[in-house]
């Protein structure tokens, strides 16, 4: 399969639906695995990396669920193409920085992706829409079991799966949920929650993982520890915390609606106004304003069929996605900002104009996917 086909289609995790998908954008589980007796990628010589790459790549491509997969060596991808994959969370920032001896393989639905020779020999992930970590783990676990029939993974009787970094040893699993938390940000509760989550061995991070800023009120909640608990125990612990954050977010939105409805409508209205009329906008500003529009959709101020268009804009306005169709040389920041503004204006024009004048009687309701238009 060609990369252009992957890029042209929105991934299942964005367009699909899942439990609580108004607040939990996606669920993701990745497993780190290494081949026995082979130096880890960061320490291996180029020839060793290439040998590992060939062995793992053919095993992955041979999986029944990877029929019609996209598979490419990173040296054959342009910087822009790598960045597109990164913006879709299909490869990590670290992997995008790699060249010779690394590769990426993914299925057409973009629910399974394999990074070969990232920090570990193999990092495989499954990603789906909404809150469904158990299902996502089951998916990647099945793939792992199939792969271990042909690949000899490094496993220690006491320490479990061995990884290049001791922080991943044991299960080698990182499970995470991407959450949209404008209510907690607006009511200034989010830092309190981040701090308390960090205290119990889980992490809250920005949009693109470790060390990145929280933009568009999007936060990733994930496990920090990988040794001493089973995969199921880690996921159960994570699920309990996510359920609590979800409840806090719902409460925060409800309180905003009851006590500060004017502020809420003002923010959504202003966001819509700026996005409809801006002629230059940075990706950070765009994401932050789109977050309010997304909340407006949750509030039924916008018709529910606009949901996918709004969600897509979160990805489509990212720097590499903006330029993906253009074969011109890499654009400068100013050029991108005006192209981004034009794209948003055009997309919002297609949507029916919202009525941001009155407080919706049904509020946020519950967060199950809305079934119809404003009742």
């Amino acid at each position: 399969m060609k990369l252009s086909r992957i890029i042209a289609n929105t991934g299942e995790w964005l367009s699909g639906s899942g439990p609580h998908d108004q607040i939990v954008v996606s669920s993701r589980v990745r497993l780190a695995r290494n081949l026995k007796g082979k130096p880890f990628p960061g320490w291996a010589k180029k020839a060793e990396r290439v040998a590992v790459l060939d062995e793992i790549r053919s095993a992955v491509e041979g999986l029944p669920e990877m029929e019609n997969s996209f598979s490419e060596r990173l040296e054959d991808l342009s910087p822009l193409e790598k960045q597109v994959l990164m913006e879709r969370h299909l490869i990590s920032r670290e992997h995008a920085a790699r060249g010779a001896g690394s590769a990426v393989v993914m299925n057409p639905e973009q629910t399974l992706s394999f990074m070969i020779n990232e920090e570990d020999h193999l990092r495989m992930q499954a990603i789906r829409a909404g809150l469904q970590l158990e299902e996502v783990y089951a998916m990647i676990n099945r793939t792992d079991s199939e792969l271990e029939e042909t690949l000899d993974f490094a496993f220690h009787d006491e320490l479990g799966y061995l990884t290049a970094c001791p922080t991943n040893v044991g299960t080698g699993m990182r499970a995470s949920a991407m959450m949209h938390l404008p209510g907690l940000v607006m009511s200034e509760q989010v830092n309190k929650i981040i701090n308390s989550v960090n205290k119990i061995g889980l992490a809250v991070r920005g949009l693109h993982g470790e060390g990145t800023e929280a933009m568009g009120n999007l936060f990733q909640v994930s496990n920090q520890t990988t040794l001493g608990e089973t995969e199921e125990e880690i996921i159960a612990r994570l699920n309990r915390v996510i359920a609590q954050i979800l409840e806090h977010e719902q409460n925060a939105r409800q309180i905003l609606l009851q006590q500060r409805a004017e502020t809420l409508l003002d923010q959504i209205g202003r966001a819509y106004g700026i996005l409809c009329h801006a002629h230059s906008i940075t990706s950070k500003e765009a994401l932050n304003l789109l977050s309010f529009i997304k909340m407006g959709v949750d509030l039924s101020l916008f018709p529910s069929k606009s949901r996918l268009q709004v969600d897509e804009l979160f990805i489509e306005t990212q720097p590499a996605h903006l330029q993906k169709g253009l074969h011109a040389a890499k654009m400068g920041a100013e050029e991108r900002d005006s192209l981004r503004a034009a794209l948003i204006r055009a997309k919002l024009k297609q949507m029916p104009e919202p009525e941001i004048g009155k407080i919706p009687t049904n509020g946020f309701g519950n967060d199950s996917p809305a079934t119809g238009e404003n009742p």
Partner: protein
């Protein structure tokens, strides 16, 4: 503000480094900054920043100058990169790693998934180390009758292991063979 390392003295050295595009800030007191070699920025252990302060010190609990026999990785390399060289490094640097892992994780023993082909031998190895401990205890307590029994069980298990070990494929077959009854065979219609 207290020093991030000793947490008792006032921090006077404020270090900001950009590593892989991420900004890292560390506050240190004078004594700790000298010890960590902050005056020489290249000497500052990346391992500390990536894995938490003290990680570089933990790894030094291993005998000095030790190198991994499989991949040639050294403690100095770990201090520099914060990553290990190969899977055998976990045994080579076991002493220093265990203190580090204790601070990082919720336990020191993996309780999760085990590759099917290793499930049989892993159970045997765990049983063996338990029996060996019991044997030591029995010998120390001069309970020789019990010790003899334990020794025989250890021998039996060791022999089983030797039969299985040299042919990894056989272990895989064994594991598969055990799993077979769980898969329902397609029933033929009469």
């Amino acid at each position: 503000m207290f020093c991030d390392v000793c947490k008792s003295k006032e921090a006077t050295v404020f270090l900001t480094q950009i590593i892989e595009g991420k900004m890292q800030k560390v506050n240190l007191c004078e004594g700790c900054s000298k010890e960590k070699g902050v005056n020489d920025p290249t000497g500052f252990a990346l391992a500390d920043l990536l894995l938490g302060l003290g990680a570089a010190q933990e790894i030094e609990k291993n005998p000095a100058g030790i190198r991994c026999p499989v991949c040639g990785f050294s403690q100095a390399d770990f201090k520099k990169t914060g990553r290990l060289g190969c899977s055998a490094c976990y045994d080579t640097f076991a002493e220093g790693l265990s203190g580090m892992l204790k601070n990082m994780h919720r336990g020191l023993v993996h309780t999760g998934k085990v590759p099917a082909r290793l499930a049989v031998s892993r159970v045997r190895n765990q049983e063996l180390s338990k029996l060996r401990e019991e044997l030591d205890r029995a010998v120390t307590a001069e309970q020789f009758e019990e010790a003899a029994g334990l020794r025989d069980r250890i021998r039996t298990l060791e022999n089983e292991g030797r039969e299985a070990e040299p042919a990894p494929n056989r272990v895989a077959e064994l594991a598969e063979g055990e799993a077979e009854p769980l898969v329902p065979k397609p029933r033929q219609k009469p």
